[in-house]
């Protein structure tokens, strides 16, 4: 077994293109992966077992297209853990009607995350860019993740007295020091997701997933999930009159963790490779 550590996959120039082992594998590399090594094996059955069990289970992928012809096969792991930022700059109008709850002009507003397959969410924060509203506690804003998880970001906060706000930048972060104010005006800053009451007496209109109105004000519900897919922001105005907007859309920051392969799995992989090499006298 030979490890080639920390080679970024999908970026030209990072591979020793003269390396006959690596060349056939480069084209199979996927964005968002880095090559941590390749396994030298002979038994295609062994690779098939790896592919169907260990590799796929942990989100690993093999870089070679055909196992049958492969004497060498590249194993790539997901890109290292990090924080990835995704934004949608759309102007979202927070409408008002005489028949609340009233949905926003983009309902949902969706960010499609890709390139993080094989990784898992370890933290999510979300920023509303340019929030204005004449009575912010009319707002209920929920987030649905690609795996169906739901969180309430803010609900009935910003004062039970009319405190209009304009062009605020509000980041919702479980690790913030303070919750959003329930009895005081909203300000720009970083706050914990907050809801005044644990439930609402209505559900969000379709196509919002059922139950989002009563979802917890807790972004950790997304932890451990696959970040790739559609992240949908559902905004309703629950009371008339008063309206507002989010003029510059929203930003989703996803911190990921690479699933750690167990030590036993690594050990087993190494032993299997050595056994295969000894039995077959391969690549001595």
């Amino acid at each position: 077994m030979r490890f080639v550590l920390a080679r970024q996959c999908g970026l030209s120039g990072h591979y020793p293109t003269q390396d006959p082992v690596m060349i056939p594998c480069i084209n199979d590399c996927q964005a968002g992966k880095r090559v941590i090594g390749f396994v030298v094996v002979r038994l295609t059955e062994f690779m098939a077992i790896l592919q169907t069990s260990l590799l796929s289970r942990h989100g690993w992928t093999t870089g070679c297209a055909s196992f049958a012809a492969a004497a060498f096969c590249l194993v790539s792991l997901p890109l290292a853990a990090g924080t990835f930022s995704f934004s949608i700059p759309d102007n979202i109008q927070i409408n008002d009607t005489g028949n609340p709850p009233t949905t926003a002009s983009l309902y949902p507003s969706t960010i499609n995350v890709s390139g993080l397959d094989g990784q898992s969410v370890s933290q999510v924060t979300l920023t509303l860019n340019g929030l204005s509203h004449s009575f912010p506690s009319d707002l209920d804003i929920g987030l649905a993740g690609p795996g169906g998880q739901m969180a309430m970001l803010m609900s009935e906060v910003g004062g039970n007295i009319k405190y209009p706000v304009s062009n605020l930048t509000i980041t919702l972060d479980n690790n913030a020091a303070n919750s959003l104010p329930v009895d005081a005006p909203l300000t720009s800053g970083t706050f914990k997701p907050t809801r005044q009451f644990p439930t609402l007496p209505f559900d969000f209109p379709s196509p919002a997933p059922s139950g989002i109105a009563n979802a917890p004000a807790d972004l950790s519900v997304f932890n451990g999930s696959d970040p790739d897919g559609a992240w949908s922001l559902y905004i309703v105005d629950e009371s008339s009159p008063d309206s507002g907007s989010i003029s510059s859309g929203w930003t989703l920051d996803i911190t990921t963790a690479v699933p750690e392969p167990g030590s036993a799995a690594i050990f087993g992989l190494g032993v299997a490779a050595l056994v295969a090499r000894r039995r077959n006298g391969f690549l001595r």
């Binding site: 609340p100 009575f135 009935e156 007295i161 005044q196 007496p201 309703v236 009371s239 008339s240």
Partner: protein
């Protein structure tokens, strides 16, 4: 002739009763918060009474409030054709140490979830409204108004019924919000008048029966 006389008298009685009822409704309205069906006293009562041209008296009492409860805030609505910002609330009397800050602005106050009210009485934590307290205000408005202008619903809110008035009461178990619909309160003179009219009607009906029964 007798039949025409009876019909005329009945019409007059109905007209008088309508007039009494109408004037009663305009003179005074009561909001009872938390009145149980078993007849116990409401937790809180607010009575609006016309006391003069463009003058309304408001009396707040808490006849059924228990010792460990207090009123956090109180909410009312105002005729949307008028400006609640122009209302002036002047304290005219009190029992106990309760004090409230009074704010009035169109659709500007919520109990939490729910619609928006126009007037809010907020009691400070150091001067709460507790059992035995009472407060009186004289409300004036240069634009002209009466008690009837406080009989309006709050704004629409998803999943919540509209309310004429609401109170937030702090209990040991948490905060509760109680709504109330206005009830006309007959004044003493009006009650006497209504009673007299009712008795006269019964008497008239009895006389008519007797007349029909006689040969």
């Amino acid at each position: 002739m007798g039949s025409k006389y009876s019909a005329g008298l009945l019409a007059m009685l109905l007209a008088l009763q309508w007039q009494f009822t109408s004037s009663t409704r305009a003179n005074s309205i009561t909001f009872d918060f938390g009145q149980s069906t078993s007849g116990t006293s409401p937790l809180m009562t607010a009575v609006f009474t016309d006391v003069g041209p463009n003058q309304v008296d408001l009396t707040l009492t808490a006849p059924g409030l228990s010792a460990n409860n207090s009123v956090n805030s109180l909410y009312f609505n105002f005729n949307p054709a008028l400006a609640p910002e122009n209302l002036v609330f002047t304290p005219t009397g009190s029992t106990g140490g309760a004090q409230a800050s009074v704010q009035a602005a169109t659709d500007s106050f919520k109990t939490g979830g729910g619609g928006k009210f126009d007037i809010m009485f907020a009691f400070g934590s150091s001067t709460p409204f507790v059992a035995g307290d009472s407060l009186d205000y004289l409300i004036t408005d240069p634009d002209g108004f009466s008690t009837a202008d406080f009989e309006y619903l709050d704004t629409l809110c998803a999943g919540v019924s509209q309310a004429y008035a609401a109170v937030k009461i702090e209990q040991s178990s948490g905060v509760i919000v109680l709504d109330s619909a206005p009830q006309a309160v007959p004044e003493t003179a009006s009650s006497a008048g209504l009673l007299a009219l009712g008795l006269a009607g019964v008497g008239l009906f009895g006389a008519k029966i007797r007349k029909l029964g006689s040969p």
